[in-house]
């Protein structure tokens, strides 16, 4: 018996032309600007880079940004998860509206967010005017920066956690209830562990966005050196003052940080779902 092997010849599609085209337009759009940051940052050599970074103002701006990003990520993890749980598990009047409202921050220009915070909490704001006499003044202070960041990054946690919750069948919780677990025990031991992935991704996203936040921050912070100046604000201020190298050094640090977060996220999400 003879076996005839059928050879299937697939016409090869030439990728060189379209791929080249993509790279061609990405070059001026994305790749070259990124390269420029690093080129400028290191133009004076590593020493100059180091000097630029070790100024007190640069140090403060970077640290302040990291702290704010961390606190924002922690607070929004809790609030976002809780909101996602409520939206996904309960049916109530106005639920759809609430679902839209909590996602609004992605659609509102950040400068507008800053303005609205000022109009609410500022010295002559709706609530702020009552706070002044008591000695509280959230605007132009770290608290204001935090408020702005919480606002702007709120949807990221929600977006990472809610789909996981939505996909979790209802019987999952019911199984825990019938076994005897209270609502809290069910959340703590059954729901929360399955959210681990979403929580991690959401927290990183929130952190990354907070780190780069500019529009709202510039409005509410007053851009006060060594008090409320975040790294992006510092970069902008240095640029305006003509200290391009200094600006670029901090910009390079921010870029590297963002790359790191991005690659962790990429690796994490690329992993097949939750293999133990």
């Amino acid at each position: 018996m003879s076996t005839a092997t059928a050879v299937v010849v697939r016409p090869k599609r030439r990728a060189a032309v379209p791929a080249g085209l993509v790279i061609l337009f990405l070059l001026p759009l994305i790749l070259m600007p990124l390269a420029a940051v690093f080129a400028f940052a290191f133009r004076g050599g590593p020493r100059a880079f180091w000097v630029a970074l070790s100024s007190a103002e640069a140090q403060f701006a970077l640290r302040f940004s990291l702290v704010i990003a961390l606190v924002t990520a922690v607070i929004n993890s809790v609030l976002g998860t809780f909101t996602a749980y409520v939206l996904s598990r309960y049916r109530f009047r106005g639920q759809r509206v609430l679902g839209i409202v909590v996602n609004l921050p992605v659609a509102i220009p950040t400068v507008v967010v800053g303005t609205s915070l000022l109009l609410l909490w500022g010295p002559i704001g709706l609530l702020g005017r009552f706070l002044g006499p008591v000695g509280l003044q959230p605007m132009f202070a770290p608290a204001g920066v935090l408020l702005a960041h919480l606002f702007v990054t709120f949807p990221y946690m929600l977006g990472a956690v809610k789909p996981v919750l939505d996909e979790l069948e209802e019987t999952y919780e019911e199984a825990a209830y019938t076994i005897g677990a209270s609502t809290w025990q069910t959340f703590r031991f059954v729901i929360l562990p399955t959210l681990k992935g979403g929580l991690f991704a959401g927290a990183l996203l929130t952190f990354a966005h907070s780190l780069g936040e500019f529009g709202a921050t510039v409005m509410v912070s007053g851009n006060l050196r060594l008090k409320t100046q975040t790294a992006p604000l510092y970069i902008f201020a240095q640029f305006e003052a003509g200290n391009i190298e200094t600006a670029n050094a901090v910009a390079a640090v921010l870029a590297i940080l963002s790359f790191c977060i991005f690659f962790v996220l990429l690796r994490y999400t690329a992993r097949p779902t939750d293999q133990h």
Binding site: E169, T171, Y172, E174, A175, A176, Y177, T178, I179, G180, A181, S182, Q185, F189, V190, P193, T194, K196, D274, Q275, H276
Partner: protein
């Protein structure tokens, strides 16, 4: 022991569980069997505390748990999708209930190993949900539910998602485990075979109601209702007529047992299981023989063969199951014989080894009420029900969700006031006539009743939107009783019949009602002056003999008039009747031009009217 008393669950426009009462004995494996959407899972979830009943009481081992949360009920529940906690190992899953209860690690480990052994998963404790098969997941779910020694085990379609071979294995091991532990167990399934194999007793649920409860063998051999007869196993149901203490089924006269009383002339439904039919080349003596048939199909099914036999039409016998194709009056019987048996003769004689007579079905009335105004439909059904020995469902249609609850309350109050005891109330939402038709489709009703207003107010309202009764008259699929004014006692019924139409549903439905209400019936035909034919008289005579067969005193008359409705009215003026029966074209058929006779009769006769759609009875 689990006890449910009159448990009812309602959602916006459905009643998934309707006054279910049952008792599950200690240590028994009780099966809730029903088609999907029958409400069986909701019953289980109410026992588990995941859904709370709107009415009724649930107790487990003597403790009232009606309003307790699931955590406080001491139950183990296995879900159809298992819901194994994915971030925990098999061992951690099983230990979860013990951990929650604060059991020490060493003791937990011991119990966990016992359970892994019990369900046959020893050595797999370290695996995760994604690393085990469907059948193994099911075993983990079972072990997890048993870990803390619950008082009751509940299983919701536990084998639904598994393939046949594993299902059979698992059934066996579930049965063994349940027996060994002596655990009171409730299992929900739609699989009749599973119910038979596992159940100590089976409860058949349909449309939220508990139809019958009993051991598998009892339910299979002597079901009471048609639904249970056909849901549990194959077979044919033939309808004969009751004569004396017997039923006449073609050439056969079979005794009707005392516990399934039938009145003279009633339709009697006889269930014949495939394994109870004998086929032979020659007629056999001493066995009730239906006659000679013809083999039209012979199918090999493994351990047995299914032979389909076509019998010539049997006089006075109608087949209801399997439903005969339209226009077919031959009787089709499926016969089961062992696979190794000799092939049957081509034209075998068909005899019955055994048969079972079903209970007289309970007539069901659908009573539509608006919750205000005249309660004529309610009052009329209160008058009908004792004589029909039937049950009524009072239906109201609310325009929106807000009105639903108040409508339900006022319907219940009005039903009670009208003297309707034991009726159930349903409220649907939407457009009235449409919802009534949907309700007709959803449940087997025999009659739909609605008020048709007083003549006087009708005349005033002539130019108004069409009355509900008028709208229904042309669309209903079951006989519509439009009740006019205060109901009168039914003594004389006028059945208006056209000549030569194919269906005689109007005579049968009117006659059925007349017999039960002990009323006399008159058959009326309206002919154009001078056009009356001997054929018409002959036709009416046949109608009267049909009535006589039903046990109704009947007479006939021919009224001469140019217009059929004017003829009916003229006849009514001289001969008072309490109810007029008219036919209606089957719903959906293109109506002839001009105003349909049915509608005009409905508007112009001063009495209540029974509209019988062609072919509905």
């Amino acid at each position: 022991m689990i006890v449910l008393e009159n448990v009812t669950k309602r959602y916006a426009d459905q009643v998934p569980v309707d006054r279910v009462s049952l008792e599950v004995e200690k240590g028994e494996l009780f099966v809730l069997l029903g088609a999907s959407g029958s409400g069986k899972s909701t019953i289980l979830r109410m026992i588990a505390g995941l859904v709370f009943p709107d009415e009724g009481r649930i107790s487990i081992h003597g403790r009232d748990v009606t309003l307790l949360p699931p955590q406080a009920r001491d139950i183990g529940l296995v879900f159809q999708n298992y819901s194994i906690f994915r971030h925990m190992t098999v061992a951690q899953n099983i230990e979860f209930g013990l951990r929650i209860r604060g059991v020490k690690a060493a003791e937990r480990a011991k119990r966990r190993d016992e359970l892994l052994d019990l369900v046959g998963l020893s050595g797999l404790g370290g695996r995760f949900d994604s690393q085990i098969s469907g059948g193994q997941r099911q075993r983990v779910a079972l072990a997890r539910a048993l870990a803390y020694n619950p008082g009751v085990l509940l299983l919701d379609e536990p084998f639904g998602a598994l393939d046949v071979k594993i299902r059979v294995q698992l059934r066996q091991s579930l049965k063994e485990i349940q027996k060994r532990l002596g655990l009171t167990t409730v299992l929900v399934t739609h699989d009749q075979e599973e119910a038979f194999e596992l159940g100590t007793r089976i409860a058949v649920i349909e449309r939220g109601r508990l139809l019958e409860v009993g051991p598998p063998k009892r339910l299979y051999e002597s079901p009471r209702s048609l639904f249970v007869a056909t849901f549990l196993g194959a077979g044919a149901v033939l309808v004969g007529r009751s004569r004396g203490h017997n039923v006449e089924l073609g050439p056969l006269t079979l005794p009707v047992p005392m516990d399934v009383p039938h009145e003279e002339g009633d339709r009697v439904r006889v269930l014949i299981r495939p394994e109870h039919i004998l086929l032979s080349a020659e007629p056999k003596a001493n066995v009730p023989t239906l006659g000679q048939g013809e083999v039209i199909e012979d199918t090999f099914t493994g351990s047995s063969r299914r032979i389909r036999v076509r019998m010539p039409p049997l006089a006075g016998v109608r087949q209801v199951v399997p439903a005969p194709p339209f226009g077919e009056d031959a009787v089709m019987l499926d016969v089961a014989v062992p696979a190794h048996a000799d092939p049957p003769p081509r034209k075998p004689w068909v005899a019955l080894e055994e048969w079972h007579i079903l209970r007289q079905p309970t007539p069901r009335l659908l009573v539509c009420d608006e919750g205000e105004g005249l309660a004529s439909a309610l009052e009329f059904s209160a008058q009908l029900l004792p004589a029909l020995n039937g049950v009524a469902t009072v239906l109201g249609v609310a325009a929106d969700a807000r009105q639903q609850d108040s409508l339900r309350e006022s319907l219940a109050a009005r039903a009670a006031e009208a003297g309707l005891k034991e009726s159930s109330v349903r409220v649907r939402r939407g457009e009235t006539a449409e919802q009534i038709l949907l309700e007709q489709r959803d449940a087997p009703y025999d009659f739909v009743l609605t008020g048709a207003g007083e003549m006087a107010s009708l005349r005033r309202a002539r130019r108004r939107a069409p009355q509900l009764a008028e709208e229904l008259a042309l669309t209903t699929t079951i006989p519509l009783l439009a009740v006019r004014g205060r109901p009168r006692r039914l003594e004389r019924i006028l059945i208006c019949t056209a000549i030569g139409e194919p269906g005689k549903s109007d005579v049968r439905a009117g006659g059925w009602l007349a017999r039960r209400m002990n009323a006399a019936a008159t058959l009326l035909h309206v002919a154009r002056p001078g056009r009356s034919t001997p054929f018409a008289a002959e036709h009416l005579e046949r109608g009267v003999s049909t009535l006589r067969e039903l046990g109704v005193a009947g007479s006939w008359a021919i009224q001469e008039n140019e217009d059929p409705v004017d003829g009916i009215l003229a006849f009514l003026r001289e001969n008072a009747h309490d109810l007029v029966v008219v036919g209606a074209p089957p719903a959906g058929r293109q109506l002839p031009r001009g105003e349909p006779i049915t509608l005009r009769a409905l508007r112009e006769c001063g009495t209540s009217i029974l509209v019988v759609p062609e072919g509905s009875w």
